[in-house]
Chain length 431, copies 2
């Protein structure tokens, strides 16, 4: 088993007593086996010794909501209302997507994500085999799910559900365990209640979690009340969704009672501040969710509504906007924002050994080049990560003990080919 | 006079009819003399021909409020309320600043700014000779002002005012016109009324504009009402401040009447979204200011309250937060955010020939490397700049017709020396 030593680095250890350690980390196989101030064994006992001078090592970022293939729609129809943007721009273009489009759109997003320090992502989309193949090849970690929209005839509903079930069954635990799967009704407003119940049953049968969009816009909440007499949280509760481990995306419009229900069922919320702001959906009640003990994490959403996949930006937005909007400068401190983007992200998608630099955890970590003006003075590195860093500060990325980015170059995917094929797809789609 | 051709580039032309042009730009001396789709003269007539393939050229960014030397306090005392942070953290450390600290703190910030595409900045601080020398050497453009706090005995007030006046007189128009100056009472709550009047008189005598902090926090506005019976805008109006061309920083807490007064006097507002969010000061009424015809621009504020000097992030925040908070997805479109960071920035500080790629304008421009996933597909480059780009995408920077950054390296300042001296200053300060 390969044994790697990283020495002379600064490591973000999410311990209570200190936030960063100057020292060493040892990786054996896919695990972290040591982190501390001293080199634990003679240098000759390592297969690889890396000089970590001027590098800041931190857990890889965990992006808990997105649609990778939507990179093909980046900058297409910006500055519109959510429903108009969805119905007039996104859905017609997405309707034309073939598996080739998903293949290259997803690969472009994976490139952007891994070069920018994201080591795990959640993806809810169509043509998911292509997404799984891209994850397998890239070396990153993916929690994947075929999102199904149920506004269609019963036979199409059934075909979609079967497809989602097959995908979830075939890929769960694959790629050395880097791929896990979920079941996904797209949203309460795009799936009739009986269809949601069938998806819940399938998730029970497969023993898998559920992922769905929920309470993203005020209009959605109002529509749910009009159509079903209850708000989305009560609606999904009634349909048994929360009888499965559940991750909901957005959760912007929640009242106190709904937050209590989410806490009661340990429903996890993927907060997507960039997308929620850009689509004018509103500002989620993140401080209240956290104070209530709900497990929250961060997602970029698709590149069409963000428009990049920079998780540093999501951490920064989470730290900044809730201070500004609530008037409380302690609303979301830097340390909490960092946890949202790392450890709480991993916990939100049931990855218990990811998201921390600690002995026994998976070696999913990244290195930032801190020999740059915006990382000086060398004071509070957690603050620098959240308030000052960006995706392009990432130089090295390791997932499951394997380097997938070194010196800013992706080692697993052919960047030039991906950009070329991506442009061919886009040219055909806009046709 | 040196004549440079950039060919095969994409250029952001802030014309009404189109937002980007694929083609060429010619620079002669310090000016843009051509921009269009064709190469206007045979290649041999140029001193330098640059291949702009895979580069996006846009006006240099204009940062209209900051305190460059405060990079020394980056990450020092984060996540505190404004007054506590100022009174217990910032001011005690700043009280120790010598001209050496300002010299190296400012140089570090200038490095960060120019490498990140900012070609003009406003700086309000102390030991301003060091700032002016740094601007001169760096090749960037600076609008500089000695900010004076009047909470001191009359002789100290007078000494500070004299110092500010001398500085403004000596440096206005220097460095080939790249430096202009202003007069600055620090804020209504840090300067007694009679002292503000004396500063206004000095600005009249020198025929210079005034720059001040104003209406940054609710507490400041309430304090102004308690102490002087009026809100800050009426207070400054009464003291004659607006009889001079004026740029106010922040303007977070403004009512309709105050916005009308600012419009009436053509007072310019530097909107600092990152700083306002981080210090929990609130969310400025940017859409209302713009609709009322007030000239608004963007500033980072000091690195202690931001914590980087990335103007792409300020444009993005300006575009995002007002959508999210108002619920209007058209609140600040990408095109408007770009103007806030470029042309309106220049106009806000009375630089009439800066901030646009157009014939006759100063050659203050930057190039982004767009051969990267987050700039694909090649659809709407204005959208990509605002919603997707960051400081680290900048590869080349030209100010006043002179290259100061090429391939990401600063040509005018010694980066290694600056980082070294900066760390020495910080180590001494933290003592």
């Amino acid at each position: 088993m390969k044994k790697t030593l990283i020495s002379n680095g600064i490591f973000i250890a999410n311990k209570e007593d200190k936030t960063s350690i100057k020292g060493c980390m040892v990786i054996e196989g896919s695990q972290i086996t040591y982190i501390g101030t001293e080199v634990p064994e003679p240098l000759e006992s390592y297969d690889e010794v890396i000089d970590g001078t001027n590098k800041l090592y931190m857990p890889g970022l965990v992006n808990t909501h997105g649609h990778a293939a939507m990179s093909l729609l980046r900058g297409y129809g910006d500055d519109l209302a959510l429903q108009v943007w969805l119905e007039e721009k996104m859905w017609p273009m997405e309707g034309k997507f073939t598996s080739q489009d998903v293949k290259w759109g997803t690969r472009l997003s994976i490139l952007e994500m891994i070069k920018g320090g994201t080591t795990t992502f959640v993806d809810m989309y169509d043509h998911m085999n292509e997404v799984a193949l891209a994850v397998e090849e890239s070396g990153m970690r993916g929690v994947l799910t075929r999102g199904v929209i149920g506004l269609c005839p019963p036979d199409v509903q059934t075909a979609k559900l079967n497809e989602a079930t097959e995908f979830a069954k075939n890929w769960h635990g694959k790629a050395d365990g880097r791929i896990t799967t979920m079941m996904s009704p797209h949203a309460p407003y795009t799936c009739p209640p009986d269809y949601i119940e069938r998806i819940v049953q399938a998730a029970h049968d497969l023993n898998l979690p559920i992922h769905t969009h929920m309470s993203e816009t005020r209009r959605e909440v109002e529509g749910n009340v009009e159509q079903y007499g209850v708000r989305p949280v009560a609606h999904l509760e009634k349909l048994g969704v929360f009888s499965r481990p559940t991750l909901v995306a957005h959760g912007v419009h929640l009242n106190d009672e709904e937050i209590a229900i989410l806490k009661q069922y340990d429903v996890r919320v993927s907060h997507n501040p960039g997308s929620n702001l850009k689509l004018a959906s509103g500002v989620a009640r993140l401080p209240e969710l956290l104070r209530s003990g709900v497990k929250v994490s961060l997602g970029t959403d698709g590149a069409a509504s963000n428009n990049n996949l920079d998780m540093f930006e999501e951490m920064r937005l989470a730290a900044l906007i809730h201070k500004g909007v609530t008037g409380d400068p302690l609303a979301i401190p830097a340390k909490e924002a960092l946890l949202l983007g790392t450890r709480m992200g991993a916990e939100s998608i049931w990855l218990e050994d990811v998201g921390l630099l600690e002995i026994g955890m998976k070696a999913d970590f990244i290195a930032l080049d801190i020999d740059q003006p915006h990382f000086l003075p060398k004071t509070d590195f957690v603050s620098h990560i959240v308030y000052s860093a960006c995706a392009k500060d990432v130089v090295d990325v390791c997932v499951d003990g394997t380097w997938i980015v070194r010196k800013g170059e992706c080692l697993t995917l052919d960047e030039e080919k991906i950009k070329r094929e991506f442009e061919i797809c886009f040219d055909r789609l806009k046709g």
